[in-house]
Every structure is written in C-alpha cells, then in structure tokens.
C-alpha cells in the first residue's frame, strides 16, 4: 500500500481540470482517475471534491449535464469549458514555475547552474 500524501492547497482544482481534458466524467470517475493515476497516493475525499466541482462550475471553468452514458442510468457529467482549458494552461505553467523554483532551493547542485 502506497503512503497517502496530503493534497496541496489549490492543486485539487488543477487536477480536476486536467482529468477532464480526457473528456466528460462524473464525480466518482474523476476521484477514481486521480487516485489510480497516482497509484493511490492521492485520495480525493468527496468532502472536498464536490465543493470544488461546484466552485469550478460557478467560475465557468466547468459545465455539467445529467446524461446517460456507459452506465445505464442518468449521472451528472462534468465537462471542461474553453475558459477551463485556458485556466488549466495558466495553472499548469504556474505550477511548473513553482516546482522548478522549489527544486532549485531544495537540490541546488543538480540544477543547470
């Protein structure tokens, strides 16, 4: 069993947006996907997932619709909006800069300096 890591503040939004890049998904699928991609290192609690989904929807980065897909019942599917794609790009580049900066502090000798 992998050790669980605390999700960094603000990263859940980015992970949700990134997950939805593959196509529409419902809440449980999103949580499962994040969990599986990280080999269970990141567990998404529904207590934080749903507030996040609704918040992103309010900001216009996600759109939702009740649809019947591979399951035989109607479920609420979330989809990335164009604004959401832009937001994802912005957050991704921010995140890269941040991790690069942190890396330079943490492991100075391995840098390209």
């Amino acid at each position: 069993m992998t050790e669980k890591i605390e999700l960094l503040q603000g990263t859940l939004d980015m992970l949700i947006l990134r997950t939805l890049l593959f196509g529409p998904a419902h809440g449980h699928q999103i949580a499962k996907h994040i969990q599986r991609s990280t080999s269970d290192a990141l567990q998404v609690e529904h207590g934080s997932l749903y507030p996040a989904l609704h918040r992103l929807e309010r900001k216009g980065w996600l759109a939702s619709k009740w649809e019947v897909r591979d399951q035989r019942r109607e479920l609420k599917y979330y989809r990335l909006t164009p604004a959401g794609r832009k937001q994802l790009a912005a957050e991704e580049s921010n995140w890269k800069k941040l991790t690069a900066a942190i890396a330079r502090v943490m492991w100075p000798e391995s840098g390209e300096v």
Binding site: G27, H46, S48, Y50, P51, H54, R55, R58, W66, K76
Partner: protein, 854 residues
C-alpha cells in the same frame, strides 16, 4: 425558490450516486459518509446563494420565534422602548445642537463671541451691536465674509388683515457669507443694507410655497411690513430656514432699513442695542486660533471706536474682553443654552433605559439558549458546523434586534414630536425643528440594533459553556436593578423639583387671571393721551360681567424679563446694581392678590398730577430702610432722580425666575412715568373663564385697529417658565417607570425560569416536608437578594452621578435621602410583585408529579 429546490435535489442525487459507487466498490450495500456536511460545504461553494440562505435562515428564525410569541414580544418591545427613547432624545439633540446649516461648507463658519466680560452669567456674550458688526466686517484680511443676524417678528399685510410673520434681520453680507443661491430672484446684498436704501425683503422657500404657491411673479412685487411697502426681491433656497435654529425666517430684512420700518425704534441699530449674532467665514488658510490671535490686537480699538464715549457702561463692559471664535456652522439659538444640559442628562437616562432593555433581551436569550441546548446538540450531532449554528442564532437575534430597532424608530418619531410640543410650550411661538428620523438617527438605531444582535447572538449560540451562562443571568438582573435604581432616583429628583417650584409661594395668586398685552404706543399715543387710553380700556374691562378685579402694569411676573433702574435713598445710591422697578396701575396688588403689609396700595387718585408715590416689597424694606419706619421715606428714581414717597410695603413676589428669591423691588404708578410704555392688563375672573376671555377680546380688539391682541392665562405664563423642569420631570418619570417595568420583567423571567428548572428539586423538598410558605419564601428570598445587591451597587453610583444634575434641581439636594429611600422602596415593591407569581407557581408544585418526571 424553484431553482433552489431543483439545485438541492440535483446535489442530493449526485452525492447519493457517488456514495453508491463507493459502496459497490467496498462490496457493501450501505452508503457511508456525512451527507449533510458535504452538502453544507457544497452550498458554500455556490456562493451567490447566500441571499437565498439568509432567506432560509430568516424563515427559520421567524418560525422559531413565532413558536414562542411571549419571548419574542418581550424582547422586541424591550428593545423598541429602549431604542425608541434614546432615538427620540437623540433626534432632538441632533436637530437642536448638532445639525449643520444647509449652507456652503458650514464647517468653515465661525461664530464670534465676546469672552471675558466681567460678571457675565453665561461666560460668553453672543450679541453685538450693529455698529460693531459693521466695524468687524471691514477686516477683509481675516474674513472672506462676515455677517450679523437676529430674529424678528414682522406684522405683515394690509391694515385689515395683519399677520405676524416670523422673520430675521440680517446684515448685507449674510447670504454671501453663507454661500447661498436664490431659488428665485436674488438674495440681499450689502447694497440693500445701507441707510435710506429702498426697503427690500427676501422670503423663505416654505413661505413662498405656502403663501404664493411658488409663483415666481412675487419677485419684484411689494408687500406691507410694519404698514410700509417693502419689495420682495427673491426667495431663499429650499431647506434653508435662516440661521436662527428653531425659528423659521419667513421674511428676511436688511438691518439698515429698520428705522424706516420702525420709526419709533431707531436705537435698535445704534451702539446701545446688543442683539445681533455674528457668523463669519475666515479667509482660506486662516484657522480659528489665528482668527482669535489676529482679533486680539484689533478688538480693543475696534470696540472703542464703535461705542461712543456717551456709553461709559458699555465701554467698561468690553474693556479687557477678547473675541472667542467658536464653530458657527450650526446656526444659533438661545434654546441651546437652556436645553443643552437637560438634553444631555436625558440622553444619559435613555442610555440607562437602553442598557436595561439590552440586559433584558440578553437574559431572555440566555434562558432560551439553555432551553434549546438539546436542539443545538442534536444539530451538531447531525453534522451542522459551528459557523452554521452561530449564523442561525445571529440571524435570529438580528431579526429580533432589527424589529425592535424599527419599532423603536417609529416610536421615536412620535415621541420627538411630543417632545417638540413640550419644548414649544415654553416659547411665545412654536419651535420649528425637523425631528423626523434622519440618517443620523437611523444610523444610531441600526448600530445599536446590529451591535446588540451580534452580542446576543454570540451569547446564545453556545459560544460559552453552559455553566458560565447560568451564572451570567443573575448578574444581568442585578445590573438591571442597579440601573433602574439610578433612573428612579433621577425621576424622583426631577419630579420633586417640579413639585417644589409649583408649590412655591410666588407672592401672588396665578389662578383665574388673564393677561392681555396692549401696546397703545404702537397706535401713536404718548404721555397723557396714552395714559387716557390705558385708563379708558381699564374702565371698560372693569365693567365686564364676571371680572372681579383688573389692573395693568408695564410687565407681569415670569414673562421672561424685568425692568430695572437706578434708585437712590436720600440722594445716595443704595447699591452698585440697579433695582427692580415695576410700573403698575391702581389696584394691581388687589388683582394679583399680593398682600399689602403696611400702608396702602395705589389708587385712582395717584395720577399724573398727584404727588409721586412708591410701594416697596419686604426685601427692599428690610435691606435698605430703617427698621419700623419704611413709610414716608423718599426715593430717587432714574437718571433725573425723580422723588417718590413710599406709601406702602407689600409681600415679596417673584418676577424674573421662580428659582430666585425675590430681589428688592420698587413699584411706582405707571401713570406717573408713562412715556410710551406698553401695558399688560391683569384681569381676575370670578365666573366662567371662557366667557371672560371672549368678552375681553370683544372689548379690546376694536381699540387696537391693525394690531394683534394676545390674551393668555397667567397660569400658562407660569407654566411656560417651568418648561425645562416639566420636560425633565415628565421624561425622567417615564424613563423611571419604563426602567422599573423592564427590570421587573427581567427578574420575573429569571425566577420563572429558575423555578421551571428546579421543579423536581422543589418537589423533593415538598415531599420531604417543606410547606408552601417555605417554598414561596425560598423563591422570594432569592429575588430579595438579587434586588438588594442591585440597590447596593446602584446607590453609590447614584450618589456619585446625581451631582452632575445639581444645577437642574430646586429645593432639594442631589443626595436627597427621601428620594433615594422612595426609589429603593419602589424597587423592592416591584421586585416583590415580580417574584410573587413564580414563587406561587413553585408552591403549587405537586411532589408526586415532579418526582415521577425524574
């Protein structure tokens, strides 16, 4: 609403789906997880739904409050009374003392006052003479504008239908200094304020509306003022009613034309009449201190140049004085001097009422919170967050507080109109102040309302452990008792002051007497003709049916002024000060029922040709005349030192103020020094007052063509002098009763709640043999302890605080033991009453029932 329900359903479905998936994965059938908490967080994310949620909270709060109407009504009413009382007094303070005039940048304006006047009773003198204002006006290097203004009353209209219009006299720069623009035509300018200028007037916006239906053609027309044509040149802007606060200037005239309109009184604008208030706008960059400093050097010379050497008294008075500039943007009124202290005392009293009311509500909420402990615990258990519950409680107390505040403001509106009437009853004309709740008042009420809501909400939302809450309740009741003791003592002091003043023997009998002001000099009569006119009117009045006695005098007691002159005995001045000198007619003392102690009273034979005679009062006789031989002494009166022989001594009677001991007074026959004095007739009625009043009017009005005739009762005149005391007594008593009632409710609430909680304990006690009397005693003893604790705390506070109101009291000290005792007794009685009901309920506890409940 519909959208909200749909959203809620969607969320519910979405979360259930999720939990089902999870359950499937676990191979479990039951979904796990705290749905309520997640939902709460998701709703948070909706954000813009807060309004919706507020509505939900409000609905819930409303429902819970409706379930306990007695609680809600008591809380709302307590707050409404507390907030209403303070808002009413504050409205008045705001209108009278604080509000800026609606002029350009009122903060810049300064009022000039003369400070350091030797022996002046208000330490600052606010009035200047017209020449002084003109001299000050020339100092352009200090003032961008400087003007003088004073109130006036203008008989307006044609001779057949004269009305007394409220007005103001101003100097030419008045409107420029204030920075006002006309609503029509133009405003007065320095050119209108020149001797011999064509008489011009501006009218107020309200007068324009009322009288002329806002017809712009009035500009340029001429109206009759003092029987002379004056041309209306413009209308002042809406909202501006003059610089005399409380007195609307319907007509404003420039001072320089006064001699044209009132040819008899040219002295009003010479150096002898100090009756003009001065407001100035310093040049930009010149502070109030700089104004003072610069005038310091200029003033002595300026004053001496504007006061002629023929007025040594006035010159002496200004010597050593300086000009003290004070904030002037809120206008001027003499009411401030009279009512500032009473209003502040009343504001403090209403503050106490408000505190008691708040304590009441806090107590109610505490009891309620304890009763609701189970409900709140349950809500925590099913996942409500602390924030959520606090918010719910806040909403509830906000609903209570704001309802209370709204009701309070409505109450304040009614009360402040009543207050204004009360104040007006002390004036010869109604005080015109806008006391409708404005933003200041609403703001204060809202702040109090919301502030108390937050405090109460936090208190009752279980922010503290239950044990602490229970011990807070008795403390609140003790505080209430202490505060209401303060209120009751205040009420007692002011009510007894009024009683003392009313019960005072003034030296005359004021009942059943009418006073009619008749100024024959305004009809052009002088000296002998005036005396004939007055005598004729008196004879006609004496023949009226129902008139027991009648007389006239130059002035009546408590009319708000006095007449004094230099008096000498045997050629030597009796005192440095002047002596009260009252010209009266024959039978004056008989009409007033002032006993003649020695000698005789004036008769019809003491006329202009007869030897000059005088009557003195007891105070004069004992102070200045040789003991036992007052009669026959000769007095010199006035600058010519006319000789009068003393023929009688009368009982002391009050003239200027009920609070003063009667000063040494000399009475002389009005006929023997008539000049062109106005007269007031005193008419003592034996029969129906209404009939006598109308008969007086029928007889006197035809004798005064074109002059207003004013008839009022002597009683009304005396009561008018007591307006301040009546205001204090009425309001302090109301606040006292209010505070007492609120404290009694608080005590009752606490005991009822305690009894309810201790039902089983009381049951056990009774089962073990305690009888009903003991149970009643037990409950009442607790009430007694709380009340006594309150009295013990309140009494020393009262001892310390009542000193501040000393100058408002009469005939008793601020530590009057009777008043203190009576207040404590009243409180204990109220406490006994409030505790008896819960005590009786406790004694009716059936031991079996309560034991079974356990």
């Amino acid at each position: 609403m519909f959208r909200r329900r749909k959203r809620e359903q969607d969320l519910d479905r979405e979360l259930r789906d999720h939990l089902e998936f999870e359950a499937q994965e676990r191979g479990d059938r039951r979904p796990l997880g705290n749905m309520a908490l997640i939902k709460e967080d998701v709703r948070e994310a909706w954000g813009w739904m807060w309004l919706d949620r507020l509505a939900q909270d409000l609905r819930y709060a409303f429902r819970t409050l409706r379930k306990s109407p007695a609680f809600a009504a008591t809380a709302v009413l307590s707050l409404a009374l507390g907030i209403g009382a303070s808002a009413a007094i504050f409205s008045l303070i705001d209108a009278l003392l604080l509000r800026w005039l609606p002029v350009y940048n009122p903060r810049e304006l300064v009022q000039l006052t003369i400070a350091g006047v030797p022996g002046a009773v208000p330490p600052l003198m606010e009035s200047f003479s017209y020449p002084l204002v003109q001299a000050l006006e020339t100092h352009r290097e200090i003032f961008a504008g400087l003007c003088g203004f004073t109130g006036g009353r203008f008989p307006t209209g044609p001779r057949e239908s004269i009305e007394d219009a409220n007005g103001a006299w101003v100097t030419g720069e008045f409107y420029e200094t204030l920075g006002l623009q006309p609503a029509a035509g133009r405003l007065l300018t320095p050119r209108d304020d020149k001797p011999g200028a064509v008489p011009a007037a501006v009218i107020g916006y309200g007068y324009w509306e009322r009288k002329y239906g806002r017809d712009p053609r009035i500009v340029g027309q001429s109206i009759q003022i003092f029987g002379k044509p004056v041309s209306v040149v413009g209308v002042t802007p809406a909202g501006f009613t003059g610089a005399n606060v409380g007195q609307v200037a319907d007509i404003t005239l420039p001072l320089a034309i006064l001699p044209q309109l009132q040819p008899d009184d040219p002295y009003m604008i010479d150096a002898s009449s100090w009756w003009i208030r001065v407001v100035a706008r310093p040049r930009p960059g010149i502070s109030r201190d700089q104004v003072k400093a610069r005038l310091q050097t200029i003033w002595p010379q300026l004053a001496e140049s504007a006061i002629p050497a023929s007025m040594p008294g006035a010159l002496r008075r200004v010597r050593g004085t300086w000009i003290e500039p004070r904030p002037g943007g809120s206008g001027w009124t003499d009411l401030r001097r009279q009512f500032r202290q009473p209003l502040y005392v009343l504001m403090a009293l209403t503050g106490l009422v408000l505190l008691i009311a708040c304590a009441n509500v806090a107590n109610l909420l505490l009891a309620r919170a304890t009763a609701r402990r189970k409900e709140i615990a349950l809500r925590f258990a099913i996942g409500a967050s602390r924030v959520r519950i606090v918010r719910q409680m806040l909403t509830e107390s906000l609903l209570l507080s704001l309802s209370g505040a709204a009701l309070g403001v409505a109450l304040a509106w009614l009360c402040s109109r009543f207050l204004l009437e009360l104040l007006s009853s002390g004036q010869s004309r109604a005080i015109a102040l806008d006391v409708a709740p404005n933003w200041h008042v609403l703001g204060v009420a809202m702040v109090v309302g919301i502030g108390s809501a937050v405090v109460f909400g936090l208190v009752s939302s279980g922010a503290q452990p239950a044990r602490k809450r229970r011990s807070a309740a008795p403390l609140l009741v003790v505080a209430q008792v202490a505060l209401s003791l303060l209120l009751l003592i205040g009420a007692g002091l002011f009510v007894r002051t009024l009683q003392n003043l009313r019960g005072l023997d003034p030296g005359f009998q004021r009942e059943d007497v009418f006073l009619a002001s008749v100024d024959g000099s305004k009809l052009g009569y002088r000296d002998a003709r005036l005396a004939g006119f007055y005598g004729d009117a008196l004879r006609r009045i004496e023949t009226l049916h129902g008139v027991e006695a009648a007389s006239f005098s130059a002035i009546t007691p408590l009319s708000g002024g006095g007449i004094s002159n230099h008096v000498t005995i045997g050629g030597k001045p009796i005192d440095r000060e002047q002596t009260e000198l009252i010209p009266v007619s024959a039978r004056y003392f008989e009409t007033m029922r002032t006993p003649v102690l020695l000698g005789r009273e004036f008769t019809a034979r003491d006329d202009a040709r007869a030897p000059k005679v005088a009557i003195v009062n007891q105070a004069f006789a004992t102070r200045y005349l040789p003991e036992g031989h007052p009669l026959g002494q000769r007095l010199g009166v006035g600058s010519q030192g006319l000789e009068y022989e003393i023929v009688g001594v009368v009982r002391n009677s009050i003239y200027e103020s009920l609070r003063e001991t009667p000063p040494p007074t000399v009475y002389v026959p009005l006929i023997q020094r008539i000049g062109r004095t106005g007269a007031v007739y005193e008419v003592r009625a034996a029969g129906s007052l209404v009939q006598v009043a109308s008969a007086l009017r029928t007889i006197l009005q035809p004798m005064l063509p074109g002059l207003p005739l004013e008839i009022h009762t002597f009683d009304a005149q005396v009561e008018r002098m007591l307006v301040e005391e009546r205001l204090m007594a009425t309001l302090a008593a109301s606040f006292g009763v209010l505070g007492l009632a609120l404290a009694a409710i608080g005590l009752y609430g606490l005991l009822a709640y305690t009894v309810a909680r201790r039902t089983s304990e009381i049951g056990i006690r009774m089962a073990l043999g305690a009888d009903r009397r003991r149970v009643i005693l037990m409950v009442m003893k607790r009430a007694g302890v709380l009340t006594l604790a309150g009295v013990a705390i309140g009494a020393p506070c009262a001892l310390a605080l009542t000193r501040l109101a000393r100058s408002l009291l009469f005939g008793l000290g601020p530590r009057d033991p009777t008043t203190f005792g009576a207040a404590a007794v009243a409180l204990l009685a109220a406490a006994a009453l409030a505790s008896f009901l819960p005590a009786r309920r406790a004694s009716k506890v059936d031991p079996m029932t309560s034991l079974r409940c356990e």
